[in-house]
């Protein structure tokens, strides 16, 4: 139990110290706090002289280009990939859209696109719209009562009409982890590409895209202790080549006339316009921040804390868990008996416990498991047992207030 008392990580996050010490921030699934190190990296970059990247004919531009491309490498290695397989985007959502537009040519009339029932809207609506445009069919892997996907159903129903499988690695509303290696195998057996939304996974698991066996892996910087406005689309060698550009302009071009344009090489072809240079540098700095801690320890501290919270909540007579997945990562969804989740969140706020209520941008799942929505507690590297205890305390007080 000593690891629960671990306060090694929190000290690096200025927003959770000083004036904010009384706040239990349990909303990391929405966005994470940013460590000191990232802030000073951002500042230092701008102080040393900023420039646009790629057309490097002066020292600021050379420095910017080197820092930007080094960031690509750092981030690539963090997920077991090579720099040339990393496309910078503005976030997970843009990455999914780049894919849904860029892979449209793979999806013909009558083809299938498979999703799970627990997808975030960002990994659902782009595919839904693609299906609509191409007269393809959206197929859904249903979720079992406990919140795990029905793998048997998927195995049974997928056919070689399926061209794309798009699944989340970890559900943002209930924390369920999907068996990606298995899903990849199934997808590849029918010749489909598999897209994995890693937004909720990348900060909480040891990610190796090769072991996962997926074609594409996506995540956002702002859920990985980095700045907003930066995201990553990883694509395996062949898979990346398949993405046709759908956003045009700037450095993604090789030659332009009014009659036609030819595209640059990868990864640049898929990065239209001036990239978010400082976003990439900031995210790489966040990754370096994480890299300085032994991975196993970092993950096990978080897992112990999650188990602690889970145990306490499960035992609480007035708490109803929403979803009890076999493998859970970073997130617990629950409701308080006879209390609307929005009321709970309002009062939690009063008790300085920061968490979310609602459908968590996953309405279909929410409608299946808990139509009124739920309260979501989610962890970050800086989370501590005291945060959980504060939340538990708040739960008791909320229930008291509602007892009248």
């Amino acid at each position: 139990m000593t690891s629960l008392k671990n306060t090694r990580y929190r000290q690096f996050f200025p927003s959770l110290n000083g004036n904010n010490q009384q706040i239990a921030y349990l909303d990391s699934a929405a966005s994470t706090q940013v460590p000191e190190q990232v802030l000073s990296e951002i500042e230092q970059y701008y102080r040393q002289g900023h420039a646009n990247v790629h057309r490097a004919s002066h020292s600021f531009a050379r420095n910017a280009t080197n820092a930007f491309e080094l960031a690509r490498k750092t981030i690539a290695e963090f997920i077991g990939a090579k720099a040339q397989n990393i496309i910078f985007t503005s976030g997970t959502t843009q990455a999914v859209n780049l894919l849904a537009d860029g892979l449209a040519h793979l999806v013909a009339e009558g083809d299938h696109i498979w999703l799970s029932e627990m997808e975030h809207h960002s990994n659902l609506v782009p595919w839904q719209q693609l299906a609509k445009r191409n007269n393809a069919e959206l197929k859904v892997i249903p979720v079992l009562e406990n919140g795990d996907i029905d793998l048997g159903y998927f195995r049974q129903h997928i056919s070689n009409k399926c061209k794309i499988v798009a699944v989340t690695h970890v559900s943002n509303s209930i924390g369920a982890m999907q068996p990606i290696p298995e899903l990849s195998r199934i997808a590849h057996q029918v010749g489909a590409k598999i897209v994995v939304d890693g937004a909720q996974a990348v900060a909480h698991l040891d990610i190796d895209v090769n072991r996962l066996g997926c074609d594409y892996y996506l995540f956002s910087g702002h859920k990985l202790y980095g700045p907003t406005g930066i995201g990553v689309l990883y694509g395996a060698e062949q898979a990346l080549e398949q993405i046709q550009p759908s956003v045009f302009g700037g450095e993604m071009i090789s030659k332009v006339s009014f009659e036609q344009s030819t595209w640059n090489t990868l990864p640049y072809r898929l990065e239209a316009g001036t990239p978010n240079i400082i976003g990439a540098i900031g995210l790489a700095s966040a990754v370096q921040f994480l890299n300085q801690f032994p991975l196993k320890e970092r993950l096990s501290v978080e897992r112990s804390l999650l188990n602690y919270a889970l145990q306490k909540l499960e035992q609480h007579p007035q708490v109803e868990l929403v979803g009890k997945p076999m493998m859970r990562v970073g997130i617990i969804a629950f409701n308080l008996r006879n209390v609307h989740p929005q009321d709970a969140a309002t009062l939690f706020d009063q008790y300085n416990v920061a968490l979310r209520c609602g459908h968590h941008c996953a309405m279909p799942l929410s409608n299946t498991l808990s139509p009124q929505g739920s309260i979501r507690l989610s962890l970050g590297i800086y989370s501590e047992q005291s945060d959980i205890d504060q939340a538990l305390d708040a739960i008791n007080k909320v229930m008291e207030l509602f007892d009248d």
């Binding site: 209390v339 609307h340 929005q342 009321d343 309002t346 009062l347 009063q350 209520c357 609602g358 009124q372 929505g373 007080k397 207030l401 509602f402 009248d404």
Partner: protein, 131 residues
Amino acid sequence: MINTPQIELDLEAITLRFADCGAWEERYRQLLLLAKQLKPMDVSLKIEEKQVEGCESEVWLHLHDNKLYVDSNARIIKGLLVIVLACLNKPTKEAKALFNHTLQELGLAHHLSESRNNGISAIWREISSLD
């Protein structure tokens, strides 16, 4: 002016209930009790068409024969709705100003944020559109 048949309290009676409240918890306790003062809305009216857009919790709003009926399944919102109704013996614009003022007085001002998903501002938007 709109009729508000779901409540019997007037604004004075409401603010009186908060008069002795010290800590915020007591204020919220009053607000939650206030919610119980809202006579139920006919369930047949709790349908999607009557729902106010932009609320995290469901809020229903129905105007018929110049009578306004509201409801929510979130109790804090319901308590706030009672205050909304109590302000509506005035033209909408004045009523909204009065409501804002009252919430400030009652120490519940942070429900007034103009944030898009703030149910309360969505409700006022909807009420204004009834004018």
